[in-house]
Subunit: 385 residues, 2 copies
């Protein structure tokens, strides 16, 4: 195990002049703090004895039921064989999936580049990660390449994918690919771990159902999160998957943290009960769309001679690559010298000793003025590269 | 991995007439809910943007510093080579210790019986648990037996111990044994994981310093908890150990849950800053001492012809054994038929397919009337055993 590149970057000096386009944080402007404060006061005055006491590992039952119903009703996620458990963020859903679905030496196929936190969780169980190439058209994992990998690689147990607004590339897997992914998983008898924290943060482009919505046989573990639509500091997410798998995850979770913070599980449940989460998400999306548009316009204005990118339809990240296919890390270093933090693409590679022409830019946390200034500074920084 | 016996017991029917002496819960009467509510309101109105955002994996810096200073100043815990990190309960401190200190097939020595949650965490990393016999005088792990085990067992990496108010036996390791434990660990070059969630819950008996207080060379990982002195539902504890070890634990924690609930880390810090935690613990102890005394008196009155026990000087549990050395599970089953939940001693054994004459009774959660009635019912239930 080793510390992640992002983690070290986020430890950068606390300089007020620094602009970070490196984080993966939601904007605090989206946190429904006033509503949460009111709910919290009610819990403290009327339900503190239960909310501050030990709870069950599976999670607070009303939150589990309410979340499962919302996912099922709105997105056709989850069938009779599935069970939803509350986890300490989607990160824990991923880690527990790795724990119960893989053994040392097994192979996990994944997009390359992919989410560092998931790669780290998988690596911590000594599995071998094998990257599947992505298509150049922004449609994510190449299904022909996946089929070839499944055909030639022994001991594949799991396919890890972020099909919608992938981190770091922003790619979206088309519905036809999702269907083929499921067919291939069935044919080669491997499980799929679908990491889907961003899908409701859609700014344009058509809605494509999660892979889990197509899962008729219990082949998909779905990792979801409240971090991006409510708040991340409360560390609440969930896993939705076939009950024999989630029950093993519960046993793993029990010895890991017993249960997730119960007070905020109750708070979250009441928020979903008393407020309009869909309306809240629409407001978040308006804010994030403006930031994404600002970033795209700034890049167009200042960096179109150096970088190529595809406009992401949702999520938190814009992935750009050097037109000269040089090292993205060189861009990130130059930007850092001008007090703009970015994440070099190599940090997301399965083999992060390789080079990548990519740089990941975050547009969810900085405000539009910071985004414009950040991109302007990067352009000045890389002028001679 | 398999579900724990306690977990299944705690899922018992929600019958209002049921008396549970099976839990390991603090009394909700001890939760400083009013103080927490006031602090929470302040965080929501003035610091929500930081408190609800992602935080660093090591934990909220002011809480880390304040906790380390309190432990150091009051209990001489922690030296210059040590680092304190916040974990999602002491359970996570134990789990992360297992993760970073053991490899598959390594041996961990522990008290037998011992805390189920810790045994489960260790088992989940496929280590081999080897129980060290305890002394009959309530002084915990037998140091001669430990030395013999260290001498004859290959691949021992870790000694797991709850030296103070052990769970389930309530035993307390004398200071001389603690010193010898450290010497043996040094001699055989193994680490010690000291699980110490109860030590401040002292009702009588002399104060004995934690093993960690004697650790001059960084051989002890100390797992501590806010669960028993503030509240368990917030899932906050800590690990204090040599920095190279805690840094690896941080890498493991990062891919497990990123960080613990930040809002309650801040809340906990302010509670420690603004209120008198030592005075609060004194009040908890007055409440728990009364409950312990009630249980001891009830047992004396109703069950002294069937059971033997040693009065615990602190903690949450009273361990009793059948005078006829019959199976404790038979007592627990009979008690359950009379609607009193207890935990049969075998549940705590390293090899839980063995029998134990013991039964663990909890006195922290039930009130004195429930304790009296519970013991009375057990006596009626086991009359013909």
């Amino acid at each position: 195990m080793k510390p992640s590149a992002i983690r070290e970057i986020l430890k950068a000096p606390n300089d007020p002049d620094l602009i970070s386009l490196a984080a993966g944080n939601p904007s605090p402007e989206t946190f429904p703090a006033q509503e949460m404060a009111e709910i919290a006061a009610g819990i403290f005055s009327r339900n503190y004895a239960a909310a501050l006491q030990y709870g069950v590992t599976e999670g607070y039952e009303p939150l589990r039921v309410r979340t499962a119903r919302r996912l099922s009703g709105k997105y056709a996620l989850g069938r009779e064989f599935d069970q939803l458990i509350i986890t300490s963020g989607a990160q824990q859903a991923i880690e527990l999936s790795a724990k119960v679905l893989t053994n040392e030496g097994d192979v996990v196929l994944c997009e390359d580049p992919s989410f560092i936190g998931a790669l780290g969780a998988l690596r911590s169980y000594n599995v071998r990660l094998a990257g599947v190439p992505s298509r150049d058209d922004g449609s994510g994992m190449d299904m022909d390449a996946l089929e070839a990998a499944l055909k030639t690689t022994p001991n594949v147990k799991l396919i890890y994918t972020i099909p919608t607004y992938q981190n770091p590339t922003g790619s979206v897997m088309p519905e036809a690919s999702r269907k083929r992914l499921l067919e291939l998983a069935k044919q080669y008898d491997v499980m799929i771990l679908e990491d889907n924290p961003y899908f409701e943060l859609r700014y344009d482009g058509e809605y494509i159902p999660p892979v889990k919505a197509l899962d008729t046989e219990g082949r998909v573990i779905y990792a979801g999160s409240f971090s991006k639509i409510i708040a991340p500091g409360i560390r609440l997410g969930f896993a939705l998957g076939p009950e024999p798998v989630t029950q093993k995850m519960v046993v793993g979770k029990q010895v890991s943290d017993v249960h997730s913070n119960l007070f905020f599980q109750i708070l979250c449940d009441r928020y979903l009960e008393q407020y309009d989460i869909d309306g809240h998400i629409e407001k978040c999306n308006a804010l994030y769309k403006l930031r994404r548009d600002t970033m795209v316009e700034s890049l167009q204005r200042h960096l179109s001679d150096k970088l190529r990118w595809r406009v992401p339809h949702g999520g938190f990240f814009l992935w750009c690559e050097r037109l000269d296919n040089g090292d993205g890390a060189e861009f990130s270093a130059a930007a850092k010298a001008h007090k703009v933090m970015t994440v070099p693409g190599a940090a997301f590679l399965v083999d992060d000793t390789q080079k990548s022409p990519g740089v990941r830019l975050n547009f969810s946390l900085p405000n539009p003025a910071q985004i414009e200034e950040g991109v302007r500074r990067i352009a000045a920084a890389v002028e001679r590269i």
